[in-house]
């Protein structure tokens, strides 16, 4: 299993769009993964067409979770809320381009979980738990 491709390490070490939360923000959500101690705060602003203009996120965690947030933040830009809502687990894994064990999948999916919850404006998004049944 080759998880640590060069671009993963690069995104992990040099996260894009990393910074203080935007205020005001159209998307603003944070969550954590207590098992890992990872946490993530994601904010974004939309333009007049309803497309993501700016992304800023902050967080702490392993390379996989940081790289995932960094890569996801990049592709968010230019997308509509609906497009973000339709962004799937598979899309994210394609983006990362690596195979993940079940344990590490949770690391990668924290960013998606935060994005979805932010896009839907939900408090407790449990979508990825449902997948497991």
């Amino acid at each position: 299993m080759d998880m640590y491709l060069e671009n993963i390490i690069d995104h992990g070490q040099n996260p894009r769009n990393f910074g203080d939360p935007l205020d005001p923000a159209d998307i603003d959500y944070h969550d954590d993964n207590p098992f890992c101690g990872d946490h993530l705060h994601l904010t974004a602003q939309l333009d007049e067409d309803g497309r993501v203009k700016t992304v800023s996120w902050q967080g702490q965690g392993c390379t996989i979770s940081q790289a995932s947030a960094s890569m996801l933040g990049e592709v968010m830009i230019g997308k509509t809320l609906d497009e973000l809502k339709n962004f799937s687990k598979e899309d994210l894994l394609d983006l990362l381009g690596i195979e993940l064990s079940p344990t590490r999948l949770k690391c990668a999916l924290l960013s998606l979980k935060v994005l979805k919850a932010g896009a839907y404006g939900l408090k407790n998004w449990t979508g990825d738990d449902e997948d497991e049944d």
């Binding site: 207590p34 098992f35 064990s101 079940p102 344990t103 590490r104 738990d129 497991e132 049944d133």
Partner: protein
């Protein structure tokens, strides 16, 4: 095996017996073992023991969140076994399958978690007079703490539940839960749980099945039954000791507080308080019985390959034959209803021969049966019997075993001059 078995049993019992090395021994010199105590605990096929040994010798690591290949392998095997159990009882989700030690712990879990949170003065829990201690004592202990009332469905002389009394309870009492055994470990009675569940639900009560004696012997479909909780033990269904299952409907389990606290059942712990993990882990505190879960998965595979309907059909032949042969014996009375309403066990009493003497004398002939109250003292009190002798049957038993039982009983009688 007699001619009858070969003609009618849907299974090749001799091939099955070859999977159970324990059956191939002498109980005493010159006395081949005739094992008729599977209701207490069944024997285990090679396939189950091999699955456990292979796991313990080659694949073991603690499960969950291990970031290395061995631990991932162990976790996969542990969770694959859960999925097998889910399919076996047709639960909707693997999250509804909670590993426990045995039926007893499963009942205690429901009492200690659901019961402690939901039962209080004025509430009623309905059990039955034929229950095993493991479905009585947890409720008595909790009733003392929480002050609710327990009602027992009476048992008729024939060994059936008094369903009229059951209906009266449901209509006249604030019943919150009914907990009843599916198959009696003494009478053999197969209780009509499907209808009883519908009645309980109509009265607003939950229904729990003690499936210790049914899940090993007949197909139990929790969705078809719409049962709320189901408890059973691995060791009675060709599986290992140390593992049991509590099935519960997800919506109920989600709402229940934890039973035990510890590792794996939490999401977050601080010095002040804790948050609980998702199902099923909320109820699986500490390092689980990993090898045992894997062994249970292998047992479920084994039974599934034979086919639960075939197992039931075969056992019916053996039990019917046993009832016929036993009732020929003068002064011997088999407890419970006729063969069409029973499964798996024949408990009996004999004039002038105490149950313990009977069991001891049968053992001298190599025939292993159990004597006593079979953890159903209230039922024995109901029939004013201090003890009964019980022969019980599983898929590896044949009518030849019944013949050996009957012959040994005649020998015992001869020794006592009766």
């Amino acid at each position: 095996m007699t001619k009858t078995d070969q003609l009618t049993s849907p299974l090749d019992i001799q091939a099955i017996r070859a999977d159970f090395p324990v059956l191939n021994q002498e109980a005493h010199p010159g006395k081949p073992l005739v094992f008729l105590d599977s209701a207490a605990s069944s024997q285990k096929p090679r396939q189950v023991v091999d699955a456990m040994s292979t796991y313990l010798l080659h694949d073991h690591a603690n499960v969950h969140r291990g970031i290395y290949a061995l631990s991932e392998r162990a976790t996969d095997a542990y969770e694959a076994a859960r999925e097998k159990v889910r399919v076996f009882i047709n639960a909707r989700s693997r999250r509804e399958i909670i590993y426990t030690r045995n039926t007893t712990e499963s009942v205690n879990l429901v009492a200690g978690s659901w019961g402690r949170a939901n039962l209080g003065p004025g509430d009623v829990v309905v059990l039955s007079e034929m229950e095993h201690h493991s479905n009585i004592v947890p409720w008595q202990l909790l009733a003392e703490e929480r002050g609710f009332t327990i009602r027992y469905i009476p048992v008729t002389d024939e060994g059936l539940l008094d369903l009229a009394a059951y209906e009266t309870f449901l209509q006249q009492e604030p019943v919150k839960l009914v907990s009843v055994m599916h198959v009696s470990n003494v009478l053999g009675t197969v209780n009509p749980v499907a209808g009883m569940i519908r009645q309980a639900h109509a009265a607003g009560a939950l229904f729990m099945i003690d499936g210790a004696q049914s899940v090993p012997h007949l197909a139990v479909d929790v969705q078809a039954l719409d049962v709320d909780f189901l408890a059973f033990s691995g060791h009675k269904m060709a599986g290992p000791t140390g593992i049991g299952v509590l099935y519960g409907k997800r919506v109920l389990l989600e709402a229940m507080p934890p039973y035990m606290g510890g590792g794996d059942m939490i999401r977050r712990v601080t010095l002040e308080k804790s948050e609980w993990n998702d199902l099923p882990y909320k109820f699986e505190a500490g390092t689980p019985a990993i090898a045992e879960a894997i062994g249970l998965g292998a047992a479920v595979d084994y039974l599934g390959t034979l086919g639960m309907d075939n197992i039931l059909a075969h056992e019916q032949i053996v039990v019917e034959y046993a009832m016929e042969r036993l009732s020929e014996i003068p002064g011997l009375k088999v407890l419970g209803p006729g063969p069409d309403r029973r499964n798996g066990v024949t408990a009996f009493v004999m004039q002038d021969l105490h149950a313990h003497d009977t069991a001891q004398l049968l053992d001298m002939e190599g025939v292993a049966v159990r004597a006593g109250h079979h953890c159903a003292m209230p039922l024995h009190q109901r029939y004013c019997l201090p003890a009964t002798t019980r022969a019980s049957y599983y898929v590896y038993n044949t009518t030849a075993d019944v013949d050996a039982l009957v012959e040994a009983i005649y020998n015992a009688r001869k020794l006592f001059g009766i």
